[in-house]
C-alpha cells in the first residue's frame, strides 16, 4: 500500500481518497459502539450529549444509570438468569461438540457432508423459525417456560460455532502424535485427554466463547421458549427498547461492550497461540 515515489498526482489523489474512504467506513463500524460509552455517563436522562458534557464539566457526568442497573431488581434478576443459563448451555455444546468434531475429523466418516450440514444448520436457519419450532415442541413436552428448555435451546444454537472452530483446529493437528501415544500403550481415552485435548484446547476454548456469547446475546429463542422466570439480559433490553426506553440501557450496553472486548481479546490471544503451535509442529 506504499505509494511509489514516481506516482502521478492523480494516483496520489486516489491513494489518499481511498484511505479517507476506508477511514470513514471503519468509523461507521466502530462509532456507534464507542458513542454509547460516554453517553452512559450522562447525568441527565437524555440520549444525546448535553452542552455540559461537551464542555467536559464534571457534574454533567454521573454514575446514576449504573447505580440504577445495580439496584433495580428487574435488571439484577435478568443478569442472574443470563449468568445461570449461558455457562450451562456452553458446557453442553462444548462437550458434545468437541466429541463430534473429533469424530468428524477421522478419515473415513460416512455421510460426512450431510452430517456437517445438519450440525451447522442452527446457525443458518432463521432464528424466528427455530424459535417457533422449539416453542411448539417444548410446550408439547412441558419444557416451555422452564430453565431446562432454554438451556437445551441455547446449547443447540451454540453447537455450530463449536463444531466450526474445533474442526478448524483439528485440521492442523498432527495425527502421528496420537499414534505415538497408542504405540506406547495409552488407551484411546488417555490419548484424548493427555495428548489431543491439550493441543486443541485453544480451539475448544474459543468455540466455547462463541457458544457463550451466542447464548448470552440471544433474544428471539428465549422470548418464545422462556417465560418471565427466564428473563435474560438481552430480553430485558429488548422490552426496554420496545416499550419505554430508559438510559439504563446505555449503562448495560457499555458493560456488555466491556465483556465483548474481554472475550475478543481472549479469542485473539488463543488464535495466535494456536497458530504458533501449528507453525512449530511438524507437518
Amino acid at each position: 500500500m506504499e505509494l511509489p515515489p514516481y506516482a502521478t498526482t492523480g494516483q496520489r489523489i486516489w491513494h489518499y481518497t481511498f484511505k479517507v474512504l476506508c477511514g470513514l467506513i471503519l468509523f461507521f463500524l466502530i462509532a456507534p459502539i464507542v458513542v454509547i460509552i460516554p453517553l452512559s455517563f450522562n447525568a441527565e436522562n437524555f440520549f444525546t450529549f448535553t452542552p455540559g458534557m461537551l464542555a467536559f464539566e464534571a457534574d454533567a457526568y454521573s454514575f446514576k444509570h449504573y447505580q440504577d442497573f445495580f439496584s433495580n431488581p428487574d435488571w439484577q434478576q435478568a443478569l442472574v438468569n443470563s449468568v445461570q443459563i449461558a455457562p450451562v448451555a456452553t458446557l453442553l455444546s462444548v462437550s458434545l461438540g468437541t466429541l463430534a468434531a473429533v469424530g468428524l475429523s477421522q478419515d473415513h466418516v460416512p455421510f460426512r457432508r450431510a452430517i456437517m450440514a445438519i450440525l451447522i444448520s442452527p446457525m443458518i436457519v432463521p432464528l424466528i423459525i427455530s424459535a417457533a419450532g422449539m416453542y411448539f415442541f417444548y410446550s408439547r413436552i412441558g419444557l416451555q417456560g422452564t430453565y431446562v428448555g432454554v438451556v437445551l435451546a441455547h446449547a443447540a444454537l451454540g453447537i455450530p460455532f463449536v463444531i466450526i472452530t474445533v474442526t478448524a483446529t483439528l485440521v492442523g493437528f498432527d495425527r502421528s502424535l496420537t499414534r505415538a501415544a497408542a504405540n506406547m500403550g495409552a488407551d484411546p481415552v488417555t490419548t484424548f485427554f493427555k495428548i489431543q485435548m491439550p493441543l486443541i484446547l485453544p480451539g475448544v476454548i474459543s468455540g466455547g466463547l462463541f457458544a457463550f456469547i451466542t447464548s448470552f446475546d440471544e433474544v428471539v429463542v428465549v422470548l418464545f421458549v422462556g417465560s418471565a422466570g427466564q428473563k435474560t439480559l438481552p430480553w430485558q433490553m429488548f422490552t426496554g427498547l420496545r416499550e419505554q426506553i430508559s438510559p439504563t440501557i446505555l449503562a448495560v450496553a457499555t458493560i456488555l461492550v466491556g465483556i465483548s472486548i474481554a472475550l475478543l481479546t481472549t479469542v485473539e490471544l488463543l488464535r495466535r497461540r494456536s497458530e504458533r503451535l501449528r507453525g512449530m509442529s511438524p507437518g
Binding site: M1, F18, L21, C22, I25, L26, L29, I30, P32, I33, V35, F47, T48, F49, G97, L99, G103, Q106, H108, V109, P110, R113, I115, A117, I118, L119, S121, I124, V125, P126, I128, I129, A132, G133, M134, F136, F137, A156, I159, I164, T167, A168, I213, F216, D217, V219, P234, M237, L241, R242, I245, I249, L250, A253, L256, V257, S260, I261, L264, E268
Partner: protein
Amino acid sequence: MSDASQAGPVLAADGTPLKKSLQRALRAQKLRALALIAPLLIFILVTFVGPIADMLFRSVENAIVSETLPRTVVALEDWDHEAGEAPSEDVYRMMTYDMVTAAELKTHTRLGSRLNYETTGISSMFRKTGRRVDDFGEEYTDQFVALNPAWEEPATWVALMAASTDPFAISPAAEQALPETASIYADFAKTIADTKGDSVTEEEPWHPVYLALYTDLIANPDAASAFSGESAALISAAAAAVPTFEVTTTKDLFVKADKGWTDPEVWGTIKAFTPEYTSGYFLASVDLKKSPDGIESLPEDRQIYMLLFKRTLFMSLMIMGSCVILGYPIAFLLANLPMRTSNLLMILVLLPFWTSLLVRTSAWKILLQQQGVINDILVWIGLVDDADRLVMINNQFGTIVAMTHILLPFMILPLYSVMKTIPPYYVRAAKSLGATNWVAFWRVYFPQSVPGIGAGCILVFILAIGYYITPELVGGTTGTFISNRIAYHISSSLNWGLAAALGTILLAVVLILYWVYDKIVGIDNVSLG
C-alpha cells in the same frame, strides 16, 4: 517367499485375506467415528431439526374440521356448492349433533376461529350457535316426555342403548335399529364422562338425542322389533306416536341463531376445508384464497404477504449491496497492509462482530432518533433546520443502516480470507506489461476476489432475510420483514398454520441458498475471524 509366487488373494499375518481384514479395520474406524458423532447428532435432531419439521407440518395440517364435525363432513359430500343453495335438512341435523358435542367440549370456538381465517364472520356464527345448540330439539324432548315420562329417566336410556356386557358401550341392536340415536348417544355418554366425570346413569340426555330418536323412528317405524321387554313396548308406543308429532326443522333453528347459516358460502368453506391436509395456509401466504369455487386472489386491500415478501427481498438485497460496497475496500485494505497494521485494524472489524446485537441496535436507535446525536450534529453544522429534523428511524432507512452495520463483518471476513490468498505478483505482472492501476485491478485482481464476494453475499443475504430483532426495534411499520409477521402470527393472532406456511417458504429460500453456499464455499470453510 512361496506365498508371493502363489496366485490368489494376499493374506494378512493371521491368514485372512488382506482385503477382508482391511475392510474390517475400516468398518471399525467408521463405527468409532459415528459413535463419537452420534450423541450430538441425536441431540440436534431431537432439540432442533425435529421441532422445526414438526412446526412446518402445521402448515398443511387441517384435521380440525373433520375431527370436530365428523357427521356434517360426510353429509356435505352429496351437497353441490355450484347449485348456490343452502344444503338440505339432513346436513343441518348432522351439524346439530356435531355442534352440540363440540359445544360441550368447547372445541367449536377453535374451529370457528380456524374457519374465520377463510371466511370472515364464521367465528361469531359458531359462538352464537354454540350457546344455543343444546336447546335444539327441545320440542321433541317435550313431546316424548308427554307421551311417557319414562323418557326423562336416564335409566330408560341406559336400558335402551347400553350393551348388556359393558354399560359404556352401545348395544349392537340399538345401533342397528336406531343408528342416529345410537351415534349421538355414544357421543353424549363419552362427553359427559370426560368433561364432568358424570355417568350416563345420572344425566338426562341432550335435547338433540331426542331429535335423533324422532328421526330414527320416522325412518324405521319397525324399530321396536330389535328390542325386548319394557324397551320394546316403549319404542313401539313412541313409533306409533311420532307421525303425529309437531315438527320443527333444525334449519330454522340454525337460522334463528344466526342468519349466516343460509349462506351457501359458509357451507362451501366448511366443505372446502374438510380434507385432513390443506393448501389453504400456503395460498394465504401468497395472497390467494381457497374458495368453494376454486382458487382466487384476495381483494386488493387485503393483499399483504406478497408485498411483505417483496419488501423482505428488496431490503435484504439493499443490505447485501451496501455490505459489498462498504466491505470490499476494507477487506482490500486489510489484505494489503503489513501484518502489524492490519491486525490492529482487524480489531475494529471484530469488535462490532463480538458486540451484542442489542447493544448495536440500541446504539442505532439512539443515534438515529430525532433528538439523537446525528440529528444534533446535522443541526449544529447547519445542514438541517432545527424545526424539521430528519426522520431516520422506524422506517426502511433505519433498518437498512442498522442491519448493514450489524452484518458488515460477515462480508468483510470471507472477503478478507479470499483476498489474503491472492498472490501479489499477478497485479505486478499486469502493471509491468503496461496495465494502468485501474486495468490491473479490474482485469486481474477483481476476478480473483469474486469467490469472496459470492461467499460474503450469500452469507449476508441468508442472515438478513430471516432477521427479526433489528427490524422489530428500528423498522416501524414500513421497515419490517416477513419474520416479524411470523412472530405476530405465533404470539398475537395465534394463526399458527399461516405462521408455519410463511416460515416454510422462508426456510425453503434459506435452505436453497445454504445449499448453494455449501457448493461454492463448503460449510467447513466458514471462518469465524
